[in-house]
Amino acid sequence: DVKVTQSSRYLVKRTGEKVFLECVQDMDHENMFWYRQDPGLGLRLIYFSYDVKMKEKGDIPEGYSVSREKKERFSLILESASTNQTSMYLCASSYWLAGDSSGNTIYFGEGSWLTVV
């Protein structure tokens, strides 16, 4: 089975701190994603990556950056955490089959609950 592992399940950070959320997948997937989920707002895409060292902005990239130095690892960075970044963060991955965009089953981690105080 595909496994997407998020390193921290619950975090409490102070305003202004730099926060790293780590995610590792074990299925050699090309694509990796970071979403945040808030009540009433559904899942919103922050950043995604199609390959090592590649990144694309999602719908709400402001205040976030990402790093993908290895294929299996995708990190979300909050350079200076703010209270409005209190949320649940979901990492996900999927394969990319060249010439076949009809796939894209996405596998999610269990989520990281971040509270910024």
């Binding site: 899942l43 996900a92 796939g103 996405i106 269990e110």
Partner: protein, 109 residues
């Protein structure tokens, strides 16, 4: 921007009844997927239907897709208390998936 929109937002039924959730979207898609999320957990993939398919079954799940109406429905038959969860549709285009806000299903024993 969110593309899939689920309807209803919340649904409460008795065990054994069928549950139907709908999803509408606005633009072209390669496929549409349904996911389930138990409270406080990650999303789990349930079923994928491609844009050239009209209906798909998996166990107690039945998904339909009407690309002319840009809509899909998820039917859960003979519901169980363990089906209580939030259900999301996601539309995929060019490798990127966009999720709706979800339907919260409560199945009462």
């Amino acid at each position: 921007s969110q593309q899939g929109e689920e309807d209803p937002q919340a649904l409460s039924i008795q065990e054994g009844e069928n549950a139907t959730m709908n999803c509408s979207y606005k633009t072209s898609i390669n496929n549409l997927q349904w996911y389930r999320q138990n409270s406080g957990r990650g999303l789990v993939h349930l079923i994928l239907i491609r844009s050239n398919e009209r209906e798909k079954h998996s166990g107690r799940l039945r998904v339909t897709l009407d690309t002319s109406k840009k809509s899909s429905s998820l039917l859960i038959t003979a519901s169980r208390a363990a089906d209580t969860a939030s259900y999301f549709c996601a539309t995929a285009w060019a490798g990127k998936s966009t999720f709706g806000d979800g339907t919260t299903l409560t199945v009462k024993p």
